[in-house]
């Protein structure tokens, strides 16, 4: 299974802008976060194919995952 991971904002500086990950088994979003080495508490917004999702969402071949940091106003 191939999943494209796109990071936004400060995540790009800490990790990467975009990366393709391959899995030979079923995976959930939380697996990607763990594999990237991203602390779960830093994840603010999660999209799969442009739709808001949660860490427990299952992934499918060809999915595009977008991860964004926490944000706040001011």
């Amino acid at each position: 299974m191939q999943v494209t991971v796109t990071l936004i904002g400060s995540f790009r500086l800490k990790w990467f802008k975009e990366m393709v990950l391959y899995y030979d088994h079923d995976a959930e979003l939380i697996d990607i976060v763990n594999d990237v080495g991203m602390p779960v508490e830093e994840v603010g917004i999660i999209l799969i194919n442009g739709r808001h999702s949660s860490l427990q969402n299952r992934l499918r071949d060809g999915d595009i995952v977008t991860l964004m940091p926490l944000i706040g106003g001011g």
């Binding site: 904002g9 500086l13 800490k14 508490e41 603010g44 917004i45 944000i71 706040g72 106003g73 001011g74």
Partner: protein
Amino acid sequence: MIIIKKVTKNDPSTVLYRRCTIDLASKAVNFEDVPCRNLEDVMGGFGRSFQILAERKIENAYCPENPLIVNTGLLTGSNIMTGLRAYFSAYSPLKHSSKGLPAAMWSAGSGNFGSKLKWTGIDEIIFENRSATPVYAFISVDEAGPRVSLRPAGQLAGLNSHEKIMALEKVYKDAHFAAIGQAGENYENVSMGVVALSTDNQLKSGEDKCRFAGRGGMGSIMGYKNLFAIVAQSTNRLGPISPEVRDVNKVIVRSGGSARFQPVSQGGGGGTWANYEVLQAFYAVPENNFRPKGNDGVEKLFRESVEKKLEVRTEACFRCGIRCHNNIFRRNPDGSRGEFIAKFDFEPLNLFGTNLGIHDGAQVAELIKLCDNLGMDAISLGTTIAYVLDYNERHPDKVLFNGAKFGQFAQIRELLKRTGKGELPDIGKGLKRLAEKIGETAFAMQVKGLELPAYLPDTNPGYIWAIAGGHMSMGTHMLLAKEGKTSLDDWVAAITGAGLLQVGHDMIGLCKFVGFGASHEAIVSAILETTGLEVTSQELMQAVRRAYLRGLALELQQGYTDEDFTLPSQVFDSPNENVTLPHFVTRDYVEQLKNRIWEIFAPEMDGLLPEG
């Protein structure tokens, strides 16, 4: 604040706060220790000031009977991190109902003024009437207690906010300052004047690094009262930090709520500037009067783009571990850091940046600096000017003012400067009045007479229930981007639950950047440690809820009707297809939302205002 006896239960009447009433007309000063009526009084900030405002019938903000209330929160001046807030409350010359009555407003700011005021032993100052000539108030403390005098301020006339502060700093050591700029002095033509609050960094460096109580025109109220500044002189009264308070501060500085504002180098999100990149992922960054174009134009104001030409230095407020400030400096030819220009927060960066069609970081910084120094609210001014530019694009044959259009820096700068000097009252009196005068309100980005902050109204029906600034008094401005939720159930729950609890920060003296990450238990613990008061998390939330609802009830008292509780009609009639977030805010949706929310709020509002 005086605690009569050690309480084992939250009993507000056992707590007295020190009020100082200053009659600016007669120069009479009166001190009294006032028993708290409820937990809102104990917590302070707008929770207390709105109860005072509710007792007055004010039909014109610029009248002697409209008080200016300056107070602090329970934790202002304490060892709890971010406990720096000072609050300014009055009936607003800017925010008003369609019946023309002024709304009650508060505005909060950090800097060191709030702590210095608290350390004089005064919890609240009520400025009554107005002075016949310009004055400033000098507040100090000696063995006998707090002392107050009014002193001539003619020498401060015409100085900008930073210059006023630095002129006073030469006279008063170990003091901090609240001052207005030229805009406040020109209150008759500028309703969006701010109160500038001095910072340690400013006084030491001489750089114009004020903090601001910005919303609702509290600086214009000071100008009307001929009160050009307030000086608070006292010595540091912070005791040693207890292990318990240290633990609370650790929670604050490390919590998810504040982590997003820490610098990237510290593992954080990089301040509110980071919103640019996140919202751009949905093409939801305001451009050209809140109409994103769906392209990459706004990326020129991403941090990595700005850093190619300018120096960005991350700093924090006094003794705060949340280093949220992104201060912008010019870069010298040799590559070293040059002159300080301004601080980039998301609101002014956007509202003087891409929302005006400006994509150059240095130009944006210059506009922010000019606005700050003249002493105007960046949100109100930026959003009003965006409307002017939009109008001029729509009506090339009958342009307003100098005909400025999006992206025209020099013309925009001229509008800003002339507004601050009181030469363009149609801008200075705010967007609602301007749009109604012109007769084109559809694209006027204001709700209930207050200009919108830099989040699209298309994504936030919660604006309708904000009581003192769209994103500062209703925490739903990023709900759609964060969670993608659009159901009525979700929005009713957000507005009537966590969204309104955001105003709790405007009572206790802490900064909103503490976030919800610092649990209520931590705040309860902080209050116990700092004051000896025992309150429960539930009691705190009930008090915050009552305070919020009192604000909403005050809007109704000041003539707000159903027609005021809506969004700019462009949101309904011309959805922006460039925004990739769900389009769900229709007229019908808002009507259903209103029905559901009033069903919840209306019964709770009974009895919150004085009879008659």
